[in-house]
Amino acid sequence: MKNEQEAQLRRRVRELLNRGTVEVLLGYGRGLTGVRPLFVRDPANAEKLIWNEHCNLNLAGYLVREPLKQVMAGARIGLIVKGCDFRAVNVLIQEHQVERQNIYLIGMVCNGIESDSGSGILIKCRGCNVQVPEGTDEVIGNPQELRQIDGDPFEDVRAIMEMSLPERWSFWTSTLSRCIKCYACRQACPLCYCEECITEKSRPQWIEKAPTLSGNLAYHFIRTMHLAGRCVACGECSRACPVDIPVDVLTRFVALTIKERFDYVAGDEPDGKPFLASYCEDDPDDFIK
C-alpha cells in the first residue's frame, strides 16, 4: 500500500527546510528493529523520514535536551508530533521550558500505533480523541480515513486497582526488584528535564543511590509524584526500560486519579495551569481528617 502520508511529510519537510521555515527538524527514521529519532538539517535527507503505525516515540523530550535545547533561542525547530505527543509539548510550554514561537509543529493524523510485539494497537491509543492534532502549525494526513480506536486506555492500571493491597505490594516489589537504576525512564521522559534530579541530590540524600528495593521504590514513587498532573501517558518510560518495568502504569494511575477527581488532563491546552501549582477552593477533601 502506498504511504501517501509519508510522501506528503517528506515533501513538506523538504519545503520547510528549503524555505528556512525550520533550520532543523526532528522526526522518525529507520532503526535496527523499528523507528528511531532522526534529525534532518539537509533537505535531501527528508527522504529518510518515515511515518507509519510504528512511530511510537514521543520526540518532545528532545526539545529540552542537548543539542536542541541550546539552539532553542531564536531558532525554528521543526518537530513531528502525534496528537498525544503534542500534549507533552503543551506541558513544556506551560512550564516555560519551550517557547511556542520557536518551534514548528507538524501534526500527524494518526490511526493508532501498533505494538512492536504484535499485540495490536497500543493501550495508550484507546479512546484517543486527538487522532487529528489540533493547534499544530500544520496537519499531515487525511482525517477522512480515520477509524475510531475503542477500548479502555487504563485497562492495565485498573487490573492493578482490582488487586488486594498485599497483591499490589507483591506485584510492585517483585517488579521493582529488577530496576537497575539506569534512569532510562527518566531520560526518556519528555517531562523529566530537571538540570539536577532529586536522585542526584546528596545533601540530604533523599533517594538511595543503590538499586536496593527500598531505593527503587522511593525513586519510582517520587518520580511518579513529580509527574503528577504532568504525565501525558506517552509510555516512553516503559518503552525505554530494559528490564520491562511498567513504569507508566504508575504515572498513568495518577493521571487517571487526577482525571476522575479533578477532571484535569495534562497538556490538553498550552495555556492550561500546571495541576500541582494550582488549586481550587472546592478541591476534594474527603480524605482529610
Partner: protein
C-alpha cells in the same frame, strides 16, 4: 504483641497544626506518646520524599498536618498541598501500602483536643495493623540476607 512500640512520624506546619499539637501538651491532654513531631514551615513544604524517608527509617505511619483552608499563613500553601496529599495517598495505596499508614489532617492552633484524638485514633489503628514490616523487609531484599542496610535505629 510485646514488640517494640509503634512509631509514627508527624509533619506539622508551624502555624496551626504544630501549635495545636503543642496546645494538646500544654493543657496536659492525655494522648498516646508514639508520635514524633517534625515541624515544617507549611504543609505546602511536605514532599513525597519526606514520607518515603520516614518509612525507610522505620516509621509505621506518617501523619501530615496543616492549617484549615483559609487559615494558611502563606494564604494557599495548604490548598496546593491538598492536591498533592490526595495523589500521594492514592499512589501509596496503588502500590499496596495500607491507607492507614498515611493520614492527612487539618488542625488549628486551638484544636488541641482534635490533635489528641487523632493521635489516639491513628495509634490505635496502627497498633491493630502492626509495624510496617513489609517496608522494612525491602532494604534487605536486594543485598541478600545478612547484608541488609541497617539504617533504622532499632
Amino acid at each position: 504483641m510485646g514488640e517494640r512500640p509503634i512509631r509514627i512520624i508527624a509533619f506539622l506546619c508551624n502555624w496551626c497544626s504544630y501549635a495545636g499539637a503543642d496546645l494538646a501538651g500544654t493543657i496536659r491532654l492525655k494522648h498516646r506518646a508514639d508520635v514524633r513531631v517534625i515541624r515544617v514551615p507549611c504543609s505546602g513544604r511536605i514532599d513525597a520524599a519526606f514520607i518515603l524517608k520516614a518509612y525507610e527509617r522505620g516509621a509505621d505511619a506518617v501523619i501530615v498536618g496543616g492549617c484549615h483552608p483559609g487559615d494558611c499563613h502563606y494564604v494557599s500553601g495548604n490548598l496546593s498541598a491538598r492536591r498533592r496529599f490526595l495523589v500521594m495517598k492514592q499512589l501509596l495505596e496503588f502500590m499496596g501500602i495500607e491507607p492507614e499508614r498515611f493520614e492527612v489532617v487539618w488542625c488549628s492552633a486551638a484544636e488541641g483536643e482534635k490533635w489528641a484524638k487523632i493521635v489516639d485514633d491513628v495509634c490505635e489503628r496502627i497498633s491493630t495493623l502492626g509495624p510496617f514490616r513489609s517496608y522494612k523487609a525491602l532494604t534487605a531484599s536486594v543485598l541478600g540476607p545478612g547484608r541488609e542496610i541497617v539504617t533504622g535505629e532499632e
